[in-house]
Symmetry: C2
Subunit: 402 residues, 2 copies
């Protein structure tokens, strides 16, 4: 096992500090402003939502990433700074400018992100004021506070970190994410911030996160609502002092795998903490004719309201699973598909297999439910993650704004 999971998140790699402080944006009793800081300039790359409506900080961060370099990230929760017109852009730029001034950086080296209610003016003055406190609070133990400060309807912070060795040097990858509702990422994810001390070129870094997101966050769904604020950002500051990675070789692959592992861990943490969720749902499609077919089917099943309510009710209603596969757009033969709930096979060749109701209910009873779908067609597979749909999802979302 060349990878070692360790405690911590964005401050686990060498040379990173972070902080999370209250800011009075929506709830004065909670931390709502996070700051990540690298002690030296870092290579940086990002992915952004495919939603045509993009929040203001995404435009600013994209612009600031153009030179592939960044040294700090400022994130507020409690307000999405989306659909705020030109004022939104000004406010996002002002967040970066003030953080740069306090940290003695160029504004272009500060990335910004927001999450919360869409379409309400950002309380910039409060953020500016709290930024000073965040800078003072920066520490190498601050990752946890930062992970707390980016939460909205999340019930717990989401962090992950792991280490591996490269040419005799220890490399650490850390990350934090938030997300519980409006989760159906397309080409990016709800907010995710990754840090690493690896030395790597910007093009390699960009490709690594693109591949990692494709197999983690992009196969995650809570409610099929792709957010306006999805963003994944990574900073790599080179403090591990490995020979810099600048092409696809063994070291690249090892780092790629590490990033994917951290992203997958955060993906699962988001699914498990989906709004109102009581169960994590893992849908695996195997023996598909293509990776695309496997992804389409896995995600459609994980996203189906009817599958999700049946899981909540521990009802072994496999007809809803095959129905979702059927409308997913995936190519498959309805007369060759096998379906398993946990270890219990419930359908064979597209028809019911007499199964043990007790064993099926058992497979649905735990806090993690696994659905396996075998296409019997080819050699490709995919895994998608989701959660059940419960009364609490309704309660949370019937009055989120007010």
């Amino acid at each position: 096992m060349p990878y070692k999971h360790i405690a911590g998140g964005v401050t686990a790699p060498k040379g990173f500090k972070a902080a999370g402080v209250a800011a009075g944006i929506k709830d004065p009793s909670r931390k709502e402003l996070a700051l990540i800081y690298s002690v030296v300039p870092a290579c940086a790359a990002g992915l952004f939502t495919a939603n045509r409506v993009k929040a203001a900080p995404l435009y600013v961060t994209k612009e600031h990433l153009r030179d592939g370099r960044a040294q700090a990230v400022v994130i507020n929760s409690g307000n999405a700074n989306a659909c705020n017109g030109s004022q939104g852009l000004e406010d996002a730029k002002a967040m970066a400018r003030e953080a740069a001034r306090l940290l003695r950086l160029l504004p272009e080296d500060v990335l910004v992100a927001s999450t919360g209610v869409i379409g309400q003016p950002l309380p910039l003055a409060k953020i500016i004021k709290s930024l000073g406190q965040a800078v003072v609070a920066l520490s190498e133990q601050g990752g946890g506070a930062a992970a707390e400060a980016i939460m909205t309807t999340d019930t717990r912070p989401k962090e992950a970190a792991l280490q591996f060795e490269l040419a005799g040097k220890v490399i650490t990858v850390g990350g934090m994410a938030k997300g519980a509702g409006m989760i159906h990422p397309q080409l990016a994810t709800m907010l995710c911030f990754l840090t690493t001390d690896v030395a790597i070129s910007v093009p390699c870094l960009q490709e690594v996160i693109r591949m990692a997101a494709a197999s983690s966050f992009n196969l995650l769904t809570v409610d099929r609502d792709t957010s306006t604020n999805d963003m994944l950002v990574i900073l790599a500051n080179g403090r591990a002092e490995n020979p810099a990675i600048n092409k696809r070789n063994a070291a690249y692959n090892m780092f790629q795998e590490a990033v994917l592992k951290v992203c997958t861990e955060l993906t699962i943490a988001i699914a498990r903490d989906g709004e109102g969720a009581t169960k994590l749902l893992e849908v695996r499609v195997i023996n598909a004719a293509s990776r695309e077919d496997a992804c389409l089917a896995a995600r459609a099943v994980a996203a189906s309201n009817l599958v999700k309510t049946a899981i909540f009710g521990q009802d072994a209603n496999w007809g809803r699973i095959i129905c979702a596969v059927g409308y997913s757009g995936a190519k498959f033969d309805p007369y060759r598909i096998n379906i398993f709930l946990g270890n219990e096979q419930v359908a064979q060749n597209g028809s019911m297999l007499p199964f043990s109701e007790a064993a099926a209910v058992q497979a649905l009873a735990g806090s993690k439910v696994s659905i396996l779908i075998d296409f019997n067609e080819g050699t490709y597979e995919a895994m998608a993650w989701g959660c059940d749909l419960t009364y609490d999802y309704i309660r949370i979302n019937a009055s989120y704004r007010t």
Copy 2:
């Protein structure tokens, strides 16, 4: 106003009888078998689900429609006869064969449909037995009983009928539909049966229902789950004795409009009776660059879990509306879009317009909620229908099968 709404459903046109009887399929206390019968052979056409997994009766009905002629339709609720392998096909054929025997028709002139739980063997013997009672019960007043017999989680039957004059002859179009969950039709709809006494060619009839479904059922959504059993069938028996319609002319257009009106009425009835729904949701997109863009956006908003829960909670959270438009795939300019809840404008040029919270809540308070989205781009528009997402949707679907 050349169209007159009248009472009744499938037995409103001349020469149609229907019945609905108990059959002991899932709930012995309810009618679960419907029969529609035309006293003379009728022209017939149908539309079927785009789901790759299709229930057995769809294959049989498609086959029986190949000659464009039919005289009866048998429909059971309580069991979908989907994912039952070759036995399912045999059972669907046997339903048609037995009805044909009792009615002295060719089996090819009988169409079949099923709705209910997926993946459980059809209790054919019970259906065969009840078919005899249904034939005895056939009457010109039987439309209401038939509409009752096709209900599953529907809380009320759905019928519509209207009349208009053509060349001095009164033409009647009637219909019934069912559907409350697993509603997100693609190219067809949850079960809908239309009858008419118009004289019309089969190609014209097929085109008329295709156009009508595109502007009604295909813009309806309850839970984004496209069913395996969706089917729309129309019988036209010519008993109105009008000069037969066989090309696109004024008479064709008049009939087309009548069918669209009946389909729209049934579409709205399904949306209003969506599983657990307390409110009908109408989403209208205007001034789009194309009809396709308007449809994509309207349907995405009507389908969004987050919009639907906000409507339930009477929360004027317009950010979720623009978010859904953003990921819908529709082309539009996020800085030109205006949004109205009822008559209250809440967003202008993609940003919040200071609005009256009281007026917005008022717009969300009734049993029908209207959302208007103005793209300010072109001249096309579309309307989509849905409902709110409530605690009762969860309750109904957490234990539907058991």
